[in-house]
Amino acid sequence: MLTFSTVIFVILAVVTLGAALAVVTMKNVFHAALMLVLAFFGVAGFYVLLEANFFAAAQVLVYIGAISILIIFAVMLTRGVTMARPNNEQSGAVATASAVLFVLIVVLVGPWKINFPGFAPLNLPARAFGAPPEFKMAVQAVSPDALQRLGRALVDQYMVAFLLAGVLLLLAMIGAVWVARERKLVEIVKERREMAAEEAAAAVPPAPAAEAVATTDAHH
């Protein structure tokens, strides 16, 4: 049956999947990052379709407003972005792994009954969620106080996880401040020299090349 929400779902699915595909196939990394933004938007659209407004707004705020900006900024600060030819050597393995994961998710979460000969019928969703054997996709209206219940659950039932996430973010912030701390130029130069010395010690240069360098040095 073709309902209005089905049409919207199909459009969103096509946009999201198309954008996600473009992320991995596009040559220009900046365009790929923008396509990632589009894919994030598609996911936000799915949340709206599921009447999870809060998650849709959080998706926009966190993924589009922060994470994708971080990615785009990193891309912009990388030299030769548009000319580079990103080439993933392991694309085959990644594609296979994604396909296997996708099939697994569909099999495990989808409303099927799987019959292996000699085994009892496997119906994971029914078991996992205690649903009746005939798994029905029932569309339930979202209760009006869903947001309040979510908030309560975060400080009640899932408080430990919530606090741990906060601690994790705090640690990340402290780490970022530490990495970006102001340092004296002398320290940086010293560190660079040490690194260069280590590299020189690690790599054994072929003798003629070293001689050539030495002669040019002497020349100057």
Binding site: F4, F30, H31, L34, V37, N53, F54, A57, A58, V60, L61, I64, G65, A66, S68, I69, I72, F73, M76, T82, P144, L147
Partner: protein
């Protein structure tokens, strides 16, 4: 007397009444169903976009007039009475200008950026409460929706800056990231106390909490949360990139920043995005802290709405007309070293105060007080916090200045000693 009250009530509910009648008319025309709802939604969207465009036109005229007065000029006075036709003349001018796309631009990115920026600005109009029962949509997360959509325009500005393939544009885009991403944080942190006091993220509930409605305080939140109001206003100006925080366009430094390569209607879309965003920030400020459309009955709510929003926008123009642009380091320091810590401490203070004192016996709290006393306590604690923060900031700034002066003095002494040694020889 009753008749007068009735008339007043009718005038007050005029806006909701008109929209109800339009809805009924179209439902009668098309019959009930999802298709009709879709048509109504599209009509509402068109209405909101029209509101946005008209607001932009009105504000450009208003701003030119006010800024001109501040600078002791007359301002637009040629097109129509008081130059009122100027926005229309501007529109015609924009339409007839040559539409340029730089040869080396990233074509699609360059083309989509202005559309995106205007679209994001228009989207945030959807949750604005114009009058009782009148809004694009009454979301239960209205305040959060506004913040989320506001963060999207950063991407559009980045796209414009990158897609133009121009050094100045790129500089503008880089500044944008430092500014917009940064000032989102204090904005969000200062909407939080409002949500804590009102117990809801719906903009209508936030307004209702500031009225005499059951459960309401009857006082605007600016009296409860002075720190939040101040920081929200300033970071709001920074968030929409208006003077004195207009670093991303900064005509005198990087020409016009991210939109230097845009002309004609594309440029107009950028302007539209900027003005609509500024209007939305002023409307949101009046909703969060001034009680939005609520007010005494003898002035209709939509008039209150416009009056409050325009007063806040007037402050924006006032600042633009009088203050010089801040430096990049000042901008970033103000945000991360002053606003963010202050906002977090403010949240803690509000949290403690709202648990210590409550206005209704049913709520969990130590002392039950009247809303007026509650307001006084919150106001005093907020102003105290603000005074403390300003004292600390001015002390540290003073220490910094003294250190710089001392260093300069030492240099001078050393130079003089060197010079004497030279001449002595």
């Amino acid at each position: 007397m009753d008749n007068i009250l009735e008339v007043l009530k009718f005038i007050n509910n005029l806006m909701a009444f008109v929209f109800d009648e339009i809805g009924k008319f179209i439902t009668g025309l098309l019959g009930k169903g999802p298709g009709t709802e879709l048509v109504l939604m599209i009509l509402a969207a068109i209405g909101l976009i029209t509101f946005g465009a008209v607001t932009m036109m009105a504000l450009t005229w208003f701003e030119r007039k006010i800024v001109a007065r501040i600078q002791d000029r007359i301002g637009p006075n040629q097109a129509g009475p008081f130059g009122l036709m100027l926005p229309l003349a501007d529109g015609v001018k924009m339409l007839t200008k040559e539409d340029i796309t730089p040869a080396n631009a990233d074509r699609w990115v360059y083309l989509i950026a202005p559309i995106m920026i205007a679209a994001f600005a228009m989207t945030s109009l959807a949750v604005i409460p114009f009058a009782p029962r009148v809004a694009g949509v009454n979301l239960d997360i209205g305040a959060f929706f506004y913040i989320a959509i506001g963060s999207g325009s950063t991407i559009a500005i980045l796209m414009a800056g990158w897609g133009s393939n121009n050094k100045y544009s790129l500089l503008g885009a880089f500044r944008t990231v430092a500014q917009l991403v940064g000032y989102e944080v204090p904005m969000l942190l200062n909407v939080l106390p409002v949500i804590m006091l009102s117990g809801s993220m719906s903009l209508f509930d936030i307004i209702a909490k500031q009225t005499d409605a059951p459960g309401g305080f009857g006082l605007p939140f600016i009296l409860f949360l002075p720190v939040s109001a101040l920081v929200f206003l300033i970071s709001g100006i920074a968030e929409v990139g208006r003077s004195p925080f207009d670093l991303m366009e900064a005509e005198s430094e990087i020409v016009a920043g991210f939109h230097v390569e845009y002309s004609g209607m594309k440029f107009a879309l950028f302007m539209m995005g900027e003005y609509v965003n500024a209007a939305v920030v002023s409307i949101m400020f009046s909703t969060f802290f001034l009680g939005g459309f609520a007010g005494p009955i003898f002035i209709p709510p939509y008039v209150w709405f416009l009056a409050k929003a325009f007063s806040i926008f007037f402050i924006f123009m006032w600042l633009r007309g009088t203050l010089p642009r801040v430096r990049v380091d000042q901008l970033v320091n103000l945000n991360w070293k002053f606003f963010v810590p202050l906002s977090i401490i403010n949240i803690i203070v509000v949290m403690v105060m709202s648990k210590l004192f409550v206005t209704f016996p049913a709520q969990p709290g130590l002392f039950v007080v009247s809303p007026l006393v509650y307001m006084a306590i919150m106001l005093v604690s907020g102003l105290g916090l603000l005074g403390l923060a300003l004292t600390l900031a001015s002390r540290s700034a003073r220490r910094e200045r003294l250190a710089i002066a001392q260093e300069a003095a030492e240099h001078r002494v050393a130079n003089q000693a060197f010079a004497t040694a030279q001449t002595g020889k």
